[in-house]
């Protein structure tokens, strides 16, 4: 109603005008969010109750899709793979980011050059680095097998590290850590630079060791930034598709599993929608827990 009164704004008092101004400024973004984010989510939830046929009418089947998904061992495998992937990549990127940030916070020659070079994996386009990785791990021509098997004799035979379902997930984990640690590094480094040097000097006066300085000054200072990075990384990697899918189709994390379920082979679109809903709820539950317990909001 208030919007309709835009032309007759003269009749309003100051407070009402403030409210009107506020609404008129947020309405465009609210509309965009509603149409591009909320609508797809709602529609997806709606679809998950149907047997979806792309070329015919959808039939309402209640919770059948959700039941089929949960009873499928493939789903549980995908969930376990996702948990492995998320836990190890998050730990890896954060530890690696922290370590590199601590090193890069020291004074040494060419430091600024080194700092920018470290960002390279993060800014390189994913498709080109994926191809290099595939070439590195090619069982017949790749340099990895050439060094480990041909030259060093570490393995009994050549094998396809990136292709075999059992090993591919670890390659995907290492790839993700290598690709994404610079983000954590950047965030932690900027926090490290803001720590007051007086704190360290005071600690040294009191005879604190290097470890103690790290444990009682550095860590508490970067705690919340690391907490936020871990949360973001977990959300991102829980939904990660392109890095995993492009590198190797054999790592069936939930998003890749959903893609195959919905769009490849028998195209179970309804079950795909149901998988997306389940993934959404799992993530929502985790975020609420994390915010409450770790970030203590």
């Amino acid at each position: 109603m208030k919007l309709l009164q835009l032309n007759t704004a003269e009749g309003l008092d100051l407070r009402q005008r403030e409210i009107l101004l506020g609404w008129s400024m947020v309405i465009p973004s609210v509309l965009i969010i509603l149409s591009l984010i909320l609508y797809p989510i709602m529609y997806n939830i709606y679809l998950s109750f149907f047997d979806v046929q792309p070329l015919a009418a959808n039939t309402y089947i209640g919770l059948e899709n959700h039941k089929n998904v949960v009873l499928d061992p493939g789903f549980w495998n995908a969930l376990v793979t996702t948990i492995i992937y998320v836990v190890f990549t998050t730990l890896g990127t954060t530890m690696m980011g922290l370590f590199v940030a601590l090193v890069m916070n020291q004074e040494f020659p060419l430091r600024s050059l080194a700092r920018s070079l470290i960002l390279f994996p993060y800014i390189a386009p994913v498709i080109s680095v994926v191809f290099s990785w595939q070439f590195i791990f090619d069982p017949v021509n790749g340099i990895f097998m050439d060094i480990t098997y041909e030259r060093l004799g570490l393995f009994a035979s050549r094998f396809n590290l990136i292709g075999s379902p059992s090993t591919a997930v670890w390659v995907a984990v290492v790839f993700s850590i290598w690709k994404n640690f610079p983000f954590s590094y950047l965030m932690i480094l900027s926090r490290l630079q803001a720590i007051d040097h007086n704190l360290y000097e005071a600690a040294e006066m009191d005879g604190a060791s290097g470890w103690q300085k790290f444990r009682f000054i550095t860590l508490p200072e970067v705690y919340f930034v690391m907490g936020a990075i871990i949360l973001l990384r977990m959300i991102w990697n829980f939904n990660k598709f392109e890095e995993v899918f492009l590198l190797t189709e054999n790592v069936r994390v939930l998003s890749v599993y959903t893609y195959f379920k919905a769009f490849v082979g028998t195209m179970e679109l309804g079950q795909g929608a149901s998988l997306a809903v389940i993934q959404f709820l799992l993530l929502l539950g985790f975020i609420l827990f994390y915010i409450k317990r770790v970030l203590k909001w």
């Binding site: 109750f49 070329l55 021509n141 035979s157 292709g163």
Partner: protein, 464 residues
């Protein structure tokens, strides 16, 4: 904060549940029938020729056509063959079907039987060109269940077979690999992983290539998906033998899931045999084509070989594989007009397809990959200009060998035609890649043959 989110999520679920609980969603397909007056029209053409040099050649043909037909503009879109089914199904659901597609005949039949292609429009094109001008076998692969009506028009095709190192075979005193027994023996003999040398390449990745290798092997054993009555006979002793045999061959391929890309290992002299189409002919004969398969230039220390000019002489093709019977295999690539119902776009697509069949345009297209793209029109096959290709492939292999390959197109057999009857469900099974997924499960995930076949049969029943 927390309460708010939980409340919101619960509300969200409840409202959609109530909303969903109503009735089934009505299908939104509606034919746009209005025929507008002759005006500018623009159509999308989905091609499976995704390589940039081929797209450039097709673009030249489009530009020429557009100059002749100023009212029509054609937008070339590259779609990977393995993605075609996903793409066209989603386009149909979204109401954005393209004006024209190029795809394997097998896929065209699958799309057609789902009602995605316009049979009348394409049958008219075939009749306008003249049915008698086509090789009959290539038309048959595109036919609908009723005679004389087609889902798509064949345009070019390739023949598949087992390519092998004849010099290695002679040295080892082995028979050419055209029977099951000889292939297995040779694959085992040449499989020397310690030397980084492999016996054979068969597809073990869940892609169309695996199905192409498998089909020829299964047919050589008389295994079929359907009998003439149209009932599924996948789980037969013949099929099981074929799967077991294929699994055995897979042990002699390079490690991990492999696809056609692994033919590079052959070009590098690290493999004895590989299933491939006649597309390989220019890669074998021409150094510039082989270049992207060879790594020695960039990695001098790796044991990649440089281009071997002798390779073309030392490579032979076993086009027929046999065990209990002879089996040849290949693929016809066809044009289809999707069922979008827009008459103006149909006219434009029909006109463009007919243009592509005119000798100049046709030969330009086929010369993109001499040997790989073979004509389906009889008079083009004997056309002197066609036989004088710029890459010199005809000279390299001799006109006789080429004629043999083109003849092979006429005799292609697939799972989807049994005793002259069209099995549309077999094409759907092909397009859903059920057999490649089964092969992947067995060779990469270690599932037993029986279990994997049960799984595949179950999936097949789902799509029928």
């Amino acid at each position: 904060m927390k309460k708010c989110i939980v409340l919101f999520a619960v509300l969200l679920l409840l409202t959609t549940f109530v909303w969903a609980g109503g009735q089934g969603e009505a299908a939104v397909e509606e034919d746009a029938t209005a025929v507008e007056a002759e005006g500018p029209v623009s159509i999308d053409f989905w091609t499976t020729q995704t390589q940039s040099d081929r797209m450039a050649t097709i673009q030249v043909l489009i530009d020429t056509f557009e100059a002749l037909n100023p009212n029509i503009s054609i937008n070339l879109v590259a779609v990977d063959e393995n993605e075609m089914a996903t793409q066209i199904n989603t386009a149909a659901a979204a109401g954005t079907l393209p004006g024209m597609i190029e795809s394997a005949a097998e896929n065209a039949v699958a799309f057609g039987s789902e009602g995605l292609l316009n049979e009348q429009a394409i049958t008219k094109v075939i009749n306008d060109i003249g049915k008698e001008k086509f090789y009959a076998g290539t038309l048959r692969l595109n036919e609908t269940a009723s005679k004389g009506s087609y889902y798509a028009v064949p345009f070019h095709g390739w023949v598949q077979g087992l390519w092998y190192r004849s010099d290695w075979f002679e040295e080892a005193g082995l028979n050419p690999p055209s029977t099951w027994e000889d292939i297995r023996k040779a694959a085992e003999y040449f499989y020397q992983p310690d030397e980084n040398q492999y016996g054979i390449l068969v597809g073990t990745k869940a892609e169309a290539y695996a199905e192409q290798c498998f089909t020829q092997i299964a047919m050589a054993n008389g295994a079929q998906l359907f009998n003439a009555d149209g009932s599924l006979i996948f789980n037969s002793p013949e099929m099981q033998e074929a799967v077991e045999y294929y699994t055995k061959l897979a042990e002699f391929t390079p490690p991990g899931p492999q696809s056609w890309r692994a033919r590079d290992y052959y070009l590098q002299g690290k493999m004895a045999m590989f299933f491939y189409s006649t597309y390989i002919m220019d890669d074998l004969a021409l150094e510039e084509n082989a270049a992207d398969s060879l790594s020695s230039e960039n990695f001098a220390d790796l044991e990649g070989k440089s281009f071997d000019p002798q390779l073309v002489q030392n490579t032979r093709l076993a086009a027929t594989i046999s065990n209990t019977q002879d089996a040849g295999y290949g693929t016809i690539v066809s044009f289809g007009i999707p069922a979008h119902g827009d008459q103006q776009k149909i006219d434009a697509a029909q006109r463009f397809i007919k243009y592509l069949f005119t000798p100049n345009a046709y030969i330009t297209w086929l010369h993109m990959a001499p040997g790989g793209m073979n004509p389906v029109l009889k008079d083009i096959a004997t056309n002197a200009r066609f036989q004088n290709d710029p890459k010199g492939i005809f000279q390299h292999y001799g006109a006789e060998k080429m004629a043999e390959i083109i003849q092979g197109l006429d005799a292609i057999e697939t799972f989807s035609i049994v005793e002259g009857k069209r099995m549309a469900a077999a094409s759907t099974i092909y397009s859903k890649q059920i057999i490649p997924q089964m092969i992947y499960k067995i060779t990469q995930e270690g599932m037993s043959v029986e279990k994997a076949m049960d799984w595949a049969e179950n999936e097949m029943r789902k799509v029928m």
